[in-house]
């Protein structure tokens, strides 16, 4: 039993409030991904859970016990540091062994686990080297290896794959997934990688400026952002926002976004009830902007091939919107095309508060760490 519960957690450094009242339930055996812009307090939150910083306020519970006053080594956690923090004077192998030796693990088990981890991380040949003789990605893998050889109550991983190439990342992601399936260790994982966030987590927590903006299963959060910040933050390229005046006309809702008037699909009418006359923001993800013969006419500004997809930058009046299309689509700069927004995947936000108007927390599924149906668990 090692669920982690953060309640109104606050951490101040002198005049900086790094974590500003974070409450978060991390169920036992779950895989929680923490995302958020740079400097929003992710690392600090992990360090609070690890016991490396002392909370200014609020409580941290691990396994039902308040651990605010427990030191890191009393908490049985393993952590991958964002900056690796390898022991410079120990070889790769010694770095990986150390945590186990610390727990008095049997020599055979240590050797086995280290060998396994080294193989998994593809660093078998490097075991005798010192950290200073490794490449960045190799160091990062050692840092990861140092954590995964252990069998702690909680894994804390701070961007553990950020310095790996895409291919290796995919492999490592799969390995982490497998590992989590096997060990079922409660894991808190910080990443800035969209795919990792979507595929690894049972739940995703989006942070901003020291506060949690939304928590939930990744796909749910992606599809049902609670506010503009979350909508904007998740997804790359990020969601297109088009602001306008909402007008009720004949039982129809019309949003006047300048060049065109957008007709709100019927399913959203309830949510928008009472907002006519207000400023409302329409949000559409680039992948929900599709080229369709008789849609909204736009001009192609830029064609950006990104390999498996191509991103189009389109001029819609004075606004610029992005569309993510198949790489094969034959468009060029300055082409005039027409697009359509997927009617089922649009979002409406209060322009003043940024709150999503069509969000209802009732839709929110409970996080079930064992269910692989929602997300994760699969081998990428």
């Amino acid at each position: 039993m090692a669920e982690v519960t953060l309640e109104e957690l606050v951490k101040e450094f002198d005049d900086v409030v790094a974590v500003d009242g974070v409450s978060l339930d991390i169920p036992d055996e779950s895989f929680t991904v923490l995302v958020g812009p740079s400097g929003c307090g992710k690392t600090t939150t992990l360090r609070l859970v690890a016991g490396l910083e002392r909370a200014t306020d609020g409580t941290i519970e691990i396994g039902g016990e308040v651990v605010n006053d427990k030191r890191a080594y009393e908490r049985d956690i393993a952590m991958v540091f964002q900056n690796y923090a390898l022991y410079p004077h120990k070889s790769v192998e010694e770095n990986m062994r150390f945590g186990l030796e610390q727990q008095g693990t049997d020599e055979e088990i240590i050797e086995e686990r280290v060998a396994d981890a080294a193989q998994l991380l593809q660093i078998e040949e490097l075991l005798d080297r010192r950290p200073s003789e490794l490449s960045g990605g190799q160091q990062q893998r050692v840092a990861l290896g140092r954590a995964i050889v252990r069998d702690p109550d909680v894994f804390l991983m701070d961007e553990p794959l950020s310095n790996l190439d895409a291919k290796l990342r995919v492999q490592m992601r799969a390995e982490l997934n497998k590992l989590h399936d096997e060990l079922d260790t409660t894991t808190v994982y910080v990443t800035h990688d969209q795919v990792e966030a979507m595929t690894l987590g049972d739940q995703i927590a989006v942070m901003d400026a020291g506060e949690i903006q939304q928590v939930g299963p990744p796909t749910f959060v992606y599809e049902n952002p609670r506010n503009m910040f979350v909508a904007d933050f998740l997804g790359s390229p990020s969601m297109n926002f088009l602001e306008g005046d909402l007008r009720r006309d004949d039982g129809e809702f019309l949003l006047d976004i300048g060049p065109v008037e957008h007709e709100v699909p019927a399913g959203y009418h309830d949510a928008l009830e009472g907002y006519d006359g207000e400023r409302v923001v329409l949000g559409v993800r680039p992948e929900d902007v599709t080229l369709r013969p008789d849609g909204i006419p736009v001009t192609v500004n830029v064609v950006e091939p990104q390999g498996e997809k191509t991103v189009l930058e389109l001029a819609l009046g004075d606004e610029t919107i992005k569309a993510s299309v198949d790489p094969g689509v034959a468009v060029e700069s300055d082409d005039r095309v027409s697009v359509e927004f997927d009617r089922e995947s649009v979002h409406y936000f209060d322009a003043a508060t940024g709150e999503c108007l069509n969000f209802t927390s009732e839709d929110e599924p409970a996080v079930d760490s064992d269910s692989t149906a929602i997300a994760g668990g699969s081998e990428a």
Binding site: R71, E74, Q103, S132
Partner: protein, 307 residues
């Protein structure tokens, strides 16, 4: 690990600070309180060197030490011995620091045989000071000393120089001996400090186009600061009260031309049998040393990783 082991670890950890600092504090306090109190206390007394009679005189010892008995504004001995001390300490410390820094930087390079070089460089410090002092007395000996020998044989001088018979030259000889003996100390402290400089910062500085000098100031120096502080402070503390070399080489002579605070204190307290006046000088030395260290702390006190 069992629960009891856990709680033992926990309890031991709670006691980390007292257990690590405690013994040191006890040790120092246990053995320092008495001598220090004694020093301060006895600086308030006058002991008749003949009869041994003790008399409480308040701050008279200090007044005498600084102002002398009358006549002159300041005690001329105090003025001149202070000057000797400043010259001795000032030159010895700065020369040996610069020399030591240079050698430490050279020895920090990845040179083949640097192990032996390091040992070779440390050796002067390993010799008993008395031996070093005598050795230098022999080196500076006017008739048969090697220095005169070398200078004569290379034709640099025509007549032998009586180094230890002339106040200025004797002081110079003392400084040379002092530098010779204590430079290894600087080398060792700085060499250890140099290990703390993260190598990658040199890369960053090179890419930033920093010259060798600038790399020293912007990368080496900030990380070396704590060691410089240690090296200079200890060096100065040592030198202000250094007695061995002076006593062996010149005994403060010729006359009192190389008398420094340390030898004066020794002479007053031990030879003249005036412990009170000696203690007063000791207190003054303590205060001055403290002041110098405070200044050094101001200059070099900041450490690189501190925020």
């Amino acid at each position: 690990m069992t629960e009891s082991q856990h709680s033992l670890r926990r309890r031991l950890d709670k006691l980390f600070v007292p257990l690590t600092v405690g013994p040191t504090l006890l040790w120092i306090a246990g053995i320092i309180v008495y001598p220090t109190a004694k020093l301060l206390w006895s600086s308030l007394f006058f002991t008749n060197p003949i009869t041994g009679a003790k008399e409480f005189v308040g701050l008279r010892n200090f007044r005498r030490l600084l102002l002398g008995d009358g006549g002159s504004l300041l005690n001329p001995n105090f003025v001149s011995f202070t000057w000797h001390t400043i010259v001795y300490v000032g030159f010895s410390v700065s020369i040996s620091f610069l020399l030591g820094l240079g050698v430490a930087l050279l020895l920090n390079k990845d040179l083949k045989g640097r192990g032996w070089l390091r040992t070779a460089v440390i050796v002067p410090w390993i010799l008993p000071y008395v031996m070093s002092g005598l050795m230098w007395r022999w080196m500076f000996q006017a008739q048969y000393g090697a220095i005169n020998g070398v200078l004569m044989q290379t034709g640099l001088i025509g007549n032998k120089i009586a180094f230890l018979s002339d106040g200025t030259l004797a002081m110079m000889a003392l400084i040379i001996a002092d530098v010779w003996v204590f430079t290894p100390f600087i080398i060792i402290i700085l060499l250890a400090g140099l290990q703390n400089v993260p190598e990658q910062l040199y890369d960053a500085a090179e890419v930033d186009g920093a010259s060798r000098w600038s790399r020293f100031w912007n990368v080496t120096y900030p990380f070396l600061k704590p060691s410089i502080l240690v090296a200079l402070t200890i060096r100065i503390i040592f030198d202000i009260r250094a007695l061995d070399l002076v006593w062996v080489m010149t005994q403060g002579g010729p006359g009192t031309e190389t008398e420094v605070w340390a030898s004066w204190l020794y002479r007053t307290a031990q030879v003249f049998n005036k412990p009170g006046e000696g203690a007063a000088l000791g207190v003054v030395m303590l205060a001055v040393t403290f002041g110098i260290v405070a200044v050094l702390y101001k200059i070099f006190g900041e450490t690189p990783y501190e925020s």
